[in-house]
Amino acid sequence: MSVSNSRKTANGSRANPRRAAFYDLDGTLVGLNLVNAAVFMLANVGEWSGRLSYLLGFAARIPQLYLAERRDRRLLNTVLFESFKGVSRDRLFSLGEEYCERILIRNLYPRAVELIEANRSAGIAPVLVTGSPDFIVAPLARHLEIADFAANRLVYSRGLATGRLATPVMATDEKAVWCAQYAVEREINLSDCWGYADSHYDTAFLAALGHPVAVNPDRRLRAAATNRQWPVIRFEKYQSPQDREFPDAGGALDELSEIQSDGEQHNEPISRYSRRGSDGAS
């Protein structure tokens, strides 16, 4: 498969898990999106003058990107990746490493990483299926020790990006098709597999899997999840007060989750429990 990466195990054989968990990246495992990556790359791509021209070009594309996003995720990817036209392959890969290290890893949802590890411990192998470019996804996959991923690839000519995407473009239905192919190759049953995604554009991808989970879903995916009875989970960047339950419970609890804080408001001062007579509490 052109968009997949699959590493062999130490003894040279390819691991063949019985079950897999397919994770979308942007918005699902990390609180960033493709635009963040594009801006970072273009702002660091060359000399100051070059950067400026790339960024101005990108800014000029914003209306087009907005319309593309509203219309079709695949179109968004196509338009977005045109911004990289003329950048050398080596530079993109080195910036990808840098972006991953400096930005992406720091913005991973801690609970998402925890879930990947828990799934792995339960024998559910992680696979990334994302519309992000391979030069960003590859270092992240290495960091997370994920052997297989599907990501978008730019077409290069004489070492320079042409701005075109190699097919299949990892968006909407193509993700589901890729998962099906992956399952056939690995002889696993998709109905035993889990999928995690955040956008309504991933509905087909999630629907192809036996255990779809909507993560921080947008409005339309949330409606679809409710309608199709898919579990909904939330990852957050910062730990909520409710999760600081056990201060000495270790790293797993240094993370976050959502709480509902729609509690009733009380304006009158509340006395504290203290020794009677010491501060007037009764």
């Binding site: 989970i233 056990f246 419970a249 509902q260 509340i270």
Partner: protein, 546 residues
């Protein structure tokens, strides 16, 4: 100081029997001139004509609440059962944990101030008076969903919330391995695990509400603060099949197991148990007609019922659910006891039976029940089919002592729309359980063998339990096991008013469009002379079947 507790009758068996004996008028028989009967039907109420000869069992009227609740609590803390008063057990450097019953009790939620708030205020003040600073408040959720901040604030009250949330007031987490301790094994090889904070405390205070006799006692600590590793020893088909009934702790293997665990916990922990009992005043004000015998309805009662039905019918389902779950019941506290767990629970049980027990002669061929909009596991959520099953076969079937209300091989008619509808954030594992596991088998033993461990250890469900507001992955299995005694006992289960027959079929039930059709289906097999009993809710009743 007045002693409100002394106003209560001494709960001697003879007097109790006399009092219960006076309740025979709560069992009536439908005749041709009888009024239709109110039947809970999910988020609506039916008003249906029952066949002539149907026996209707009404809940006893609410007992008189304690005149001064705060004074009664103070008295209980000062005069505990078989223990020193709370203040006498305190010293400044001790570590104290207060465990609190979660949102599953009482149902519906009670008006503020919640009993737990009143108990907490006095207990925390006593601790403060004696210089005890190392105090944690743990919501004893076991494998239930985490309560939200707003829900916790509502039950513990503003004062405790402001002072203890979130560092020292939190939900129990049964999947936080670092915060669990194994205390040992019972003589039946049951592993006893407990919250580490509770296990390491010098004093564990448990604040309980007894809504039904199933609650309280050793079950409070041994279940409320325990993880899956402990619960699997009694929440399983074999144990629950040997429970006759859950409402009769003396004949319940579930309670015997939790008692064994509780006794082991008591060997290593100092526990100060505070148990309370509430009366049956579930609906007051404009809804008090729900407590009445329909034959005694006034025109005003009928008007209110029609208005209530019309309103519920014409609301959107979301609004209806919100309105119903926001309703707060004007429960009255009818007793509070503190001290030694077993002695306290004995007194609480006697009082609870005094409230609920109704003598009933003989079993019926057909039992009709209505499943309401709420059960312990769907507060502020959806009553999904698994929970409807648990409420019907698990709870309502078990509302008896001695013998079930319906004979062995008889038919149970459960009124509920049974929609394929689940809350994706509260009940995620229920969805898979219903669509995948029940599609393969409805046999509880098979389900336990083939699927339970997988669900209990599923990382996504564990994640949603720990960090979201989901019930534990194994919880739908427990809900299914809960109906096991009924499934073993009954010949047929018919869902009356079932909107989605495939849902009923998935659970091994038959479906009928209406109650009349369900009764016709039941009597077609049993004959027209089949005896029918309707267990009238709300509020709640426990039948002492002779």
């Amino acid at each position: 100081m007045a002693r409100p507790e002394s106003k209560l009758k001494e709960l001697k068996t003879a007097e109790l029997r006399h009092e219960v004996g006076a309740r025979r008028d709560l069992v009536t028989t439908v005749n041709r001139r009888s009024e239709r009967r109110i039947i809970p039907y999910g988020e609506e109420f039916l008003f249906e004509k029952l066949p002539v000869g149907t026996r209707v069992i009404y809940p006893p009227p609410p007992l008189e609440p304690l005149a001064d609740v705060d004074q009664a609590i103070r008295y209980a803390l000062l005069h505990p059962e078989n223990q020193d008063p709370l203040f006498a057990q305190l010293s400044p450097n001790m570590r104290v944990t207060i465990a609190i019953d979660d949102i599953s009790l009482p149902l519906p939620q009670m008006r503020r101030p919640d009993i737990r708030e009143r108990l907490l205020n006095q207990v925390l003040q006593t601790l403060a008076d004696y210089g005890v600073d190392d105090v944690h408040l743990v919501i004893a959720t076991s494998l239930h969903r985490r309560m939200t901040e707003a829900e916790i604030r509502r039950i513990v009250g503003e004062r405790a919330f402001k002072q203890y949330w979130p560092d020292r007031l939190y939900n129990f987490d049964a999947e936080n391995r670092a915060e669990l301790a194994m205390l040992g094994k019972t003589g039946h090889c049951e592993e006893v695990w407990l919250s580490k904070r509770a296990a390491d405390s010098d004093l564990l205070i448990y604040l309980n509400i007894n809504l039904v006799p199933m609650d309280g006692g050793h079950k409070s600590v041994a279940v409320g603060l325990a993880p899956y590793q402990s619960l699997r020893h009694h929440h399983n088909p074999a144990t629950l099949r040997d429970s006759h009934s859950y409402m009769d702790p003396t004949r319940s293997a579930l309670h015997r197991s939790s008692d064994r665990m509780g006794k082991l916990i008591h060997e290593s922990l100092n526990i100060f148990q505070i148990e309370t009992a509430v009366n049956t005043r579930m609906y007051g004000g404009m809804l008090d007609f729900l407590h009445k015998n329909e034959d005694n309805f006034s025109d005003w009662d009928r008007t209110r019922l029609k208005g209530f039905q019309w309103t519920l019918k014409n609301m959107s389902s979301e609004l209806r659910r919100t309105v119903l779950h926001n309703y707060a019941a004007p429960y009255g506290m009818i007793g509070v006891w503190a001290g030694d767990t077993e002695m306290v629970h004995q007194k609480a049980l006697a009082r609870v039976f005094q409230q609920y027990a109704v003598p009933v002669k003989g079993q019926a061929d057909i039992l009709i029940v209505g499943v309401p909009y709420i059960c312990p596991y769907n507060v502020n959520s959806i009553m999904n089919p698994i929970l409807a099953q648990c409420t019907g076969l698990g709870y309502l079937f078990n509302m008896y002592r001695n013998k079930p209300l319906v004979r062995e091989g008889g038919t149970m008619i459960i009124c509920h729309p049974l929609r394929d509808e689940f809350h994706p954030e509260h009940h995620p594992s229920y969805i898979e359980f219903f669509h995948r596991c029940l599609a393969e088998t409805t046999d509880a033993v098979e389900l336990e063998k083939n699927f339970e461990h997988e669900f209990a250890r599923n990382p996504t469900y564990i994640h949603m339990y720990r960090y979201g507001n989901a019930y534990h992955g194994v919880h739908p299995f427990y809900m299914w096991y809960w109906g096991e005694p009924a499934r073993q006992h009954l010949g047929r289960v018919i869902a009356a008013g079932c909107e989605e027959p495939e849902v009923a079929a998935r659970m091994g039930w038959e479906a009928a469009d209406t109650l009349d059709e369900a009764i016709a289906m039941a009597t077609s097999e049993l004959g027209r002379s089949a005896s029918i009993t309707y267990l009238h809710l709300p509020p709640l009743v426990i039948a002492d079947v002779e």
